[in-house]
């Protein structure tokens, strides 16, 4: 009698235990899924090029990553109160957008090179960037910049390491000057 009772009890506990486990697993993963879905709907950051931004403007409070080249000769700096403000244009060759960034531009920010700016865009105004990425060195560089280097033909991974920052810099400065001298007008 007692034996059968303990056996049935044990079976019960095994079952209830498993039920507990399964339920807590399910509950936890349901919560996790809900959190992920919720965050996806609100905190995904889309990568957009200037022409895409102009064609399909994101909601004004929506953070996006704006990527493109800094238009040569477009960087202007002002100070508001005590905050330094940088204004420059980012282009994808089809459209340009004015970017406004309060803060320190990365060391390797260069006109005529690729940057990624994180921020929001208000139609009719400028793109308010909270972060500008262009940090680079031989080993650690933003992918976008590596990509731009590869694309601009200044570096091809098959031919070894990327050129040093200096040669890269003078290359773009000279080009920027040449293009300004030649065209005589600021870029679109």
């Amino acid at each position: 009698m007692t034996v059968t009772r303990t056996v049935s009890q044990r079976r019960m506990t095994r079952k209830t235990r498993r039920l507990w486990l399964v339920l807590s697993c399910l509950a936890c993963f349901a919560v996790a899924t809900a959190l992920v879905l919720n965050a996806f709907s609100s905190s995904i950051v889309f990568f957009m090029a200037p022409s895409q931004v102009l064609k399909t403007p994101p909601a004004p409070d929506r953070v996006i990553r704006l990527g493109g080249m800094v238009v040569a000769g477009s960087l202007r700096r002002t100070v508001q109160g005590q905050s330094p403000v940088n204004l420059f244009q980012v282009t994808d060759g089809q459209a340009a957008i004015e970017v406004r960034f309060e803060g320190i531009l990365p060391d390797l920010f260069r006109e005529g090179q690729s940057v990624v700016a994180l921020g929001t865009w208000v139609p009719g105004k400028d793109f308010a960037a909270s972060e500008v990425l262009a940090k680079h060195d031989e080993t650690y560089m933003p992918r976008e910049v590596a990509e731009a280097l590869q694309r601009s033909g200044k570096w091809d991974p098959r031919f070894g390491k990327p050129p040093s920052a200096e040669s890269w810099n003078t290359m773009t400065r000279n080009e920027a000057q040449a293009s300004r001298a030649n065209s005589g007008s600021p870029l679109p």
Binding site: A49, Q94, S114, E144, S152, G153, D156
Partner: protein
């Protein structure tokens, strides 16, 4: 379903999950190698637009370059290639371009280059280009949507851009993507 089958299925879940992720990564890697997927790309798709207005001079002083009208009037599709003498991948691309130039009308635009450098670059081993123009300021390149060199555009008669590639061309891409488009319209 018996308990043991259920158990087996449960234990096979991890391998199925890993397999799915693995398959996805495999797809990404193979598309990366084919050049059709780039997690870092700034997408610049100029395809299915019309050729912008431009007029460019040729490489040496008196020589004539080409302009929008010339591209529109061309009876055959033209592959327009932006290059520069200072660009290492362009040097590597030259051999391919010479082969491609036999099969399609290939016009070149030298991007931000000194005329004499570009001239030397083009003629060193025999020019692959039927016509060459010089875009010294880089303004035309920006209108086209070029983000760097080398880049190539397939322009159909009438001036419609049918294909845009933002990397050095190779024979495989040419055969797979450009040639079918060009043949369709010929």
């Amino acid at each position: 379903m018996t308990a043991s089958t259920r158990r087996r299925l449960l234990m096979a879940l991890p391998v199925a999950g890993a397999g799915l992720i693995g398959a996805g990564c495999w797809k990404m890697l193979s598309s990366m190698q084919a050049g059709s997927f780039d997690p870092r790309a700034i997408r610049l798709d100029a395809a299915s637009r019309d050729v912008p207005d431009f007029t460019l001079p040729g490489l040496s002083g008196g020589e004539k370059g080409f302009d929008t009208a010339a591209l529109r009037m061309s009876p055959v599709p033209v592959l327009v290639n932006f290059f520069a003498s200072w660009c290492i991948p362009c040097v590597a691309e030259m051999a391919t371009l010479r082969a491609i130039g036999q099969q399609i009308a290939l016009w070149g635009i030298a991007y931000k280059d000194k005329p004499e450098d570009a001239q030397r670059f083009v003629t060193r081993d025999g020019s692959p280009y039927a016509r060459v123009a010089l875009d010294q300021s880089g303004m035309t390149a920006i209108d086209w949507g070029v983000s760097g060199v080398p880049e190539s555009f397939l322009v159909l008669p009438g001036g419609h851009i049918a294909w845009h590639g933002a990397a050095a061309l190779d024979e495989a891409v040419f055969q797979r993507e450009i040639l079918p488009l060009a043949r369709q319209k010929r």
